[in-house]
Symmetry: C2
Subunit: 299 residues, 2 copies
């Protein structure tokens, strides 16, 4: 199967590495509007060959759009215009409502499967691509009822090949969920970096590798090219999530400032409930079990 990957960065590159190795794709064609990235991906053996956008789309059995979300919105209608009528198209965008909206009335909407593989690192470019980046992680498939069954099946098979679980929800549910579990942690890390960097006398820069700062701020290394469009496309839900976060920060700050140690301990014990959830241990929170059942049972 000929797979055309458009966008040879961390995500597209990492997917290409595993999809070639597993023989899901027998030929991987790379397209990237940055000549340096394209040449690097070829040199690293991530793609078999490079071509231009139109040629790459036309020759593919499957097209994978691994670009910042604004570029996906810009290109997806043209991709559907150009593909072979039997070809499958998917993307990896982290905010989905605008992407599905731009092809809502397209005669080939059924060829397209909206997906969001939830994995990554704070690095970017083809040299950041990693084998097994996606193994054990989750992909969200959105609005599956608008994709033809064959195209949905092929995309599901691709994510299974990468070792991922799949969850199914509407693009609205995915955008709301992702605002909390992915977009908010990025805003939290960016703002933490800025708060520390802005401290006027600068005396606190001296040791940022200690004291727990490093893990909390790791995501602040992420690029504006990727994240500014994501925040933009999901702005209502991201703003809601940041507002909720500020509310919880104020609870902490006010209890600390007023010297209410027992209240602070209570808030920390509440936060500690994240522990079994993160560790994948069983939890007494029955609502979680229901959610897992709901999400992992294909509609």
């Amino acid at each position: 199967m000929k797979l055309t990957v458009i966008g040879l960065g961390l995500i597209g590159g990492s997917m290409a590495i595993d999809l070639r190795k597993s023989r899901f794709a027998t030929e991987i064609i790379g397209v990237d509007n940055c000549p340096e990235h394209a040449a690097e991906a070829l040199r690293l053996g991530i793609v078999d060959r490079l071509t231009d956008f139109e040629t790459g789309v036309k020759m593919a059995d499957m097209v994978l759009l691994a670009l910042p979300v604004d570029q996906i919105v810009g290109l997806l209608p043209t991709v559907l215009d150009l593909i072979d009528p039997a070809a499958t198209v998917t993307d990896v965008g982290s905010a989905k409502r605008e992407i599905v909206a731009v092809v809502a009335g397209h005669p080939r909407r059924g060829n397209y499967v909206a997906s969001h593989p939830m994995a990554g690192t704070e690095n970017s470019g083809p040299s950041a691509a990693l084998a097994q980046l996606f193994a054990g992680k989750l992909t969200i498939l959105c609005d599956q009822e608008h994709s033809r069954p064959q195209h949905l099946a092929l995309v599901e098979k691709m994510y299974q090949t990468l070792g991922m679980s799949t969850a199914y929800m509407s693009s609205d549910e995915q955008d709301h969920t992702t605002a909390f579990v992915s977009h908010l942690p990025h805003v939290a890390a960016f703002a933490l970096a800025n708060a520390v960097l802005a401290k006027e006398d600068g005396s606190i820069i001296f040791d940022l590798a200690s004291g727990g700062f490093q893990s909390t701020v790791r995501l602040a290394k992420s690029s504006p090219e990727m994240w500014s469009p994501i925040f933009h496309m999901n702005k209502d839900y991201v703003a809601e999530a940041v507002t909720a976060y500020i509310h919880h920060l104020k609870q902490f700050r006010d209890a600390i400032r007023e010297g209410e140690m027992e209240r602070v301990s209570e808030l920390i014990r509440e936060a500690n409930k994240i522990r079994p959830v993160l560790n994948g241990e069983s939890t007494s929170m029955t609502k979680n079990e229901e959610i897992v059942v709901k999400l992992y049972t294909k509609k």
Copy 2:
């Protein structure tokens, strides 16, 4: 040298492991008011033997208080009352002003060296103790002019043995700095966990291991027994740091909500400046260089 470690948790236990291995201490006596922790530390070989508080303090050449900060404040005056007049006392508390204040007029104040080794994990108890936990990290030594030179030298030697760098500042400077680089990241993680857990429909719990959430929230596993007293003792500076953080979060949220993509990109580029600082690379921020010189040059 006989070292008595009071508090056989992550920090005390990890220090004991390396101080025995290096032969800095020839005998390590353990004191812990939790019988299970004490027995576990003995079983794991972290200490040579266990004893009660008073006996342990009286027999020591050096006493290390590795307890939550409120317990350090409670015990430090009694420790100074009980020690051999030639013995050295130090502690590992993360907030220092109240600790040094409680022994300000003590006749043996010079035997005490206020220190804050900046290392740890989100786990606790003797089973969480790790060799080499402190290597390459920084210890802050506070108000060194109030410690006699011999006691300061021995504590410096202990931290050198652990592979740590040392910085010197007043306890006020240390508390202000630590509020931003350590206490604030903990509040940020706790509040992030609470914001996600509180989302009323619970539909977002399903996959917290993906999407960047895990690293940002890691510190939310930390215990209330340790952190509630730290926040309490440093409440003015922690409240200041959280307020600064909320200000930077609002900048992001408002720019996102208003659709100001270029402004959002600018804020992200600002946050990206944390990258070379975290990676220990050289940076063009000359103010950092001055700070490093200031801090690492012993006063």
